[in-house]
């Protein structure tokens, strides 16, 4: 290899390096606030910041969109002290693990800033007494009824069951009530709760640690409303959510629990937003549903990146403000968490309908309790397992309810330390 050839190689390498450096995105700029979000939130945030980018003077805002919520989670799992976003927009169920692992940083709000939100919303975003983010949008479900099948809103759980039994054959109903949104555990809480079982209970805005649901009452309701005399499922409430939305849209299920991120699908198919919580066993009572919030979280990396103050300012100026949430939710379509935005005329009736349903009967989604598995399994796994055991495998509802009650009580007791 002569010198001339080496020189040529050197020159080529330098040129290639220059091109590569220009093409490959570099490290985050010193005054650039980087936000990570999933495939729905990301594009909406990008649009909002493209329209108005001066929420924090002197800083630019860059939104990185991931192909899915899982992809976002996988990427955030891989972040270390030297990489990552400054702000993460995600569900509250990541708070405990991420805060415990030192990936999130606490934020302190003034009393005035806190007053923009319902106090219980902060439970969703806290770990060991520290707040890690700003409530952005409310994630909740609501029950919708098909007015082509049912003329009036049910006043009790029994109303719905009676309708189903009376019209099952004539209307070709495949089920009475099913879960279209949020899955059997998250979306299905309202059914558990309507029949008398909650994983925990709030009292005066705080968890009531003495609460455990009464397995006898719950099992009695399950027997009355969901089982035939022979102890098998009467078909009113399927143990899985498979096909639920399609069947509701096809008019073969009169009642369905839908997620607030789905309302456009139903409206587009000609359904009116007849929304209400799942009615309870007693007339006038309702099952509680998770009225959880997604959050905009400050990461520990923001400090390393040198934009912690800018990122905190963005959290306050944009995510915690009426103007910010209205602009964002106009595109995202979920009910905003911020009180001013909730009453804004720019927020759609459907968004407000979900908000009202949440206001009637919702409970915060406390990850420290729900994700805890000290009782043998966490809420997410055990709730679905109950319906499978009773509705599919024909096990005794009382025996299984006792196991469930004991399990949830242990999880809450063990999760208390994480709050």
């Amino acid at each position: 290899m002569n010198r001339k050839r080496l020189g040529v190689l050197g020159a080529l390498t330098a040129a290639a390096l220059a091109v590569t450096v220009a093409v490959v995105p570099g490290a985050h700029a010193a005054n650039e606030i980087v936000i990570w979000a999933d495939e729905t939130r990301g594009p909406h945030l990008t649009s909002v910041f493209a329209a108005k980018g001066d929420w924090v003077p002197g800083y630019t805002i860059k939104v990185v969109t991931f192909s899915s919520y899982d992809a976002l989670g996988a990427a955030f799992d891989k972040t270390s002290g030297t990489t990552g976003p400054d702000i993460l927009v995600a569900g509250n169920d990541w708070v405990v693990a991420s805060a415990k692992s030192g990936k999130l940083a606490p934020v302190t709000l003034t009393a005035g800033q806190k007053s923009h939100f319902t106090p219980s919303q902060f439970y969703d975003l806290s770990y060991q007494g520290k707040l890690y983010g700003i409530p952005v949008d409310i994630n909740n479900v609501s029950m919708i009824y098909n007015t082509k099948l049912v003329k009036t809103a049910p006043t009790s759980f029994g109303d719905m069951v009676n309708f189903y039994k009376a019209n099952k054959t004539a209307l070709g109903l495949k089920a009475g009530l099913c879960i279209s949104g949020g899955g059997m555990a998250w979306g299905g809480l309202s059914v558990f709760s309507a029949l008398g079982a909650n994983p925990y209970q709030m009292y005066n805005g705080r968890p009531n640690y003495h609460y455990t649901f009464d397995p006898a009452v719950f099992a009695s309701n399950v027997k009355t409303y969901l089982l035939d005399a022979n102890g098998k499922s009467n078909g009113f409430y399927p143990a899985t959510d498979t096909g639920c939305m399609d069947n509701f849209l096809a008019g073969t299920v009169p009642y369905s629990v839908i997620g607030n991120w789905h309302w456009k699908t139903f409206v587009d198919k000609g359904f009116a937003m007849n929304l209400m919580p799942v009615p309870g066993a007693k007339a006038g009572t309702y099952g509680q549903m998770f009225g959880s919030v997604s959050g905009a979280f400050l990461t520990a990396y923001a400090e390393k990146h040198g934009v912690a103050v800018g990122a905190k300012s963005l959290l306050v100026n944009f995510f915690a403000s009426t103007a910010g949430q209205v602009a964002y939710e106009a595109l995202e379509g979920r009910p905003p968490a911020e009180k001013g935005a909730q009453s804004s005329p720019l927020v759609s009736d459907a968004q407000k309908g979900f908000g009202q349903a949440a206001g009637l009967s919702s409970m915060p989604q406390i990850g420290a309790f729900l994700g805890n598995n000290s009782g043998g399994a966490n809420y997410w796994d055990s709730s679905g397992a109950y319906w499978t055991a009773v509705l599919v495998n024909g096990k005794d509802p009382l025996v299984e309810a006792k196991k469930l009650s004991k399990m949830w009580a242990k999880n809450v007791a063990a999760g208390k330390g994480d709050l």
Partner: protein, 513 residues
């Protein structure tokens, strides 16, 4: 054409490609070092040197062919194995992701405690008369204003401050505000703890808000002790990646923790932790059966079809094309479609059979479904392989056997099958290893279930070792990479041993030699 591979053009092209590769790798090296990934950076650096040395000299012609493969082999086979092995002796789980220095830094940050009232103030950032960074603080509730720097706090009479409509001070004598645009480009003011009173300081929470804190924890590098300054409690490294309270219970630890070597603790947990140990044997037996039966059934069915279509018949090409279809379709799609078909309420299978069978709720039915779906997914592969292998068996052998009076069954048993097994043994062993770790099928079809969740069972009836590992290592609220690595190492050793044993028994490697 010869000019393309030999002449000046070829040499020029080689230089360009080498330059591009070197440039990209150089950038990756720089990035790796910048992120303190020294091992990765060094490896890429060595790769750059190796590539340039190999292709710019005539030292070794074979090396020119082998170097890329060797580098990829190290990067994507050896390195992950070594990394997994290393992680298996670490406590590496939710709560213990960071390095120890990073964890200490984070613990100290989290140790900052707000004052009892949660006091916050409106602030303006600027510089004081001594040209130090300072904040002009508005205590609106008490109608008091002051300038706070790192070590001092100077009250400013109300009459001397200029207020905005919200009674927030925007300027004061001896204080020069800095515009927010300027602050954004210089972060040095942000980490200063501005003096408030006693042990309390004001921390900047946003560009216009400060909050009152006190440092609740302090760390002594010389003793390695973390002290709670408010209660006097002391915490020391418990050797398991956390600061634990001296004289406290096991749960009294500070978060976050760090990745700490725990040597063989992850391995011993496999036999000492009841939740893991109890179901492990059952899962192991099912894994062996599942992998073995899957190999046998897919091989047998594939061979049967290959033999059936090995003779001339009308529409043979159409049949062959149809049989390959399950293989051509992405397996994930197939599995999900099968999962839908098996659905107890709306599935096609129950609909066709007019039954209401909960396929995935009964252990035996679920296992049967798993084996059936795996047969569907796997037989086209063996059909293709066997079709080729059958044609490779010399027809003279079969004809000679027939002349000697052997019937078709004897020809198959004594000649065809042994020769096929000789040829296909490595593939059968590879298929066994693949099915041993067939995570996709189990996860997407049954999720490892059914399992008696309400009885606290972690393992499901169709869980194989790898899905069981996933279940215990990546539950909803914890990710235990250390434990997962330990099980992965055991699976690796197990499959490696079985493969080596199988290959030795079939003497395939000797034949190749």
């Amino acid at each position: 054409m010869s000019g393309f591979v030999r002449g000046k053009f070829a040499f020029g092209l080689k230089l360009v490609l080498l330059a591009i590769t070197t440039a990209v790798l150089a950038l990756l090296t720089e990035s790796a070092y910048a992120q303190k990934e020294y091992l990765i950076g060094t490896f890429i650096l060595i790769a750059i040197l190796a590539l340039n040395f190999t292709y710019l000299t005539k030292y070794s012609i074979p090396l020119k062919f082998f170097v890329p493969g060797i580098l990829f082999f190290f990067a994507f086979v050896i390195a992950p194995i070594l990394y997994t092995g290393t992680m298996s002796v670490y406590k590496y789980q939710t709560g213990n992701y960071l390095s120890k220095p990073a964890a200490i830094e984070q613990v100290l940050i989290l140790g900052a405690q707000p004052d009892a009232a949660g006091t916050t103030f409106d602030i303006v950032v600027g510089k004081n008369s001594a040209n130090q960074y300072a904040i002009l603080v508005s205590d609106i509730t008490n109608n008091k204003y002051f300038i706070s720097a790192k070590t001092s706090r100077t009250p400013v009479p109300v009459s001397e401050v200029k207020l905005n409509a919200d009674k927030v001070a925007i300027s004061a004598p001896g204080f020069k505000p800095i515009s927010l645009n300027v602050l954004a480009s210089n972060n040095s003011y942000a980490n200063i703890r501005y003096f408030y009173e006693g042990k309390y300081y004001i921390s900047i929470e946003s560009e216009t808000v400060g909050a009152v804190f006190t440092q609740g924890l302090s760390y002594s590098e010389s003793t390695g002790i973390m002290t709670n300054l408010l209660t006097g409690d002391k915490y020391k490294d418990n050797g398991k990646g956390n600061f634990a309270k001296i004289g406290g219970t096991r749960d009294q630890i500070l978060s976050p923790g760090w990745r700490a070597p725990v040597w063989f603790q992850n391995y011993t947990r496999l036999v000492t932790d009841n939740r893991i140990r109890t179901p492990l044997i059952g899962v192991f037996i099912w894994t062996i059966f599942f992998a073995g039966f899957s190999v046998l059934s897919t091989f047998a069915f594939g061979l049967l079809l290959a033999m059936a279509l090995n003779r001339r018949m009308r529409g043979r090409k159409v049949y062959r094309s149809i049989l390959i279809l399950p293989y051509a379709m992405p397996s994930i799609m197939s599995i999900l479609i099968w999962a839908g078909m098996f659905d107890s309420q709306f599935g096609a299978i129950n609909s066709i059979l007019h039954t209401n069978i909960a396929w995935f709720s009964d252990a035996s039915l679920a296992r049967g479904a798993v084996l059936l779906v795996n047969l569907w997914l796997g037989f086209p592969y063996f059909y293709l392989i066997c079709s080729g292998a059958l044609q490779a068996i010399p027809s003279e052998l079969l004809e000679a056997a027939a002349i000697d009076g052997a019937n078709p069954r004897q020809v198959f048993r004594k000649i065809t099958l042994p020769l096929l097994l000789q040829i296909l043994s490595p593939l059968l062993i590879a298929s066994f290893a693949f099915n041993f770790n067939n995570f996709n099928l189990i996860y997407l079809l049954t999720g490892g279930g059914p399992r008696d969740t309400l009885d606290g069972h972690v393992a499901g009836a169709t869980d194989i070792l790898i899905s069981y590992t996933y279940q215990i290592a990546f539950g909803k609220n914890i990710q235990d990479f250390g434990l997962a690595s330990a099980i992965s190492v055991l699976i690796f050793i197990l499959i490696g041993s079985i493969s080596i044993f199988g290959l030795r028994r079939t003497k395939v490697l000797e034949t190749f030699e």
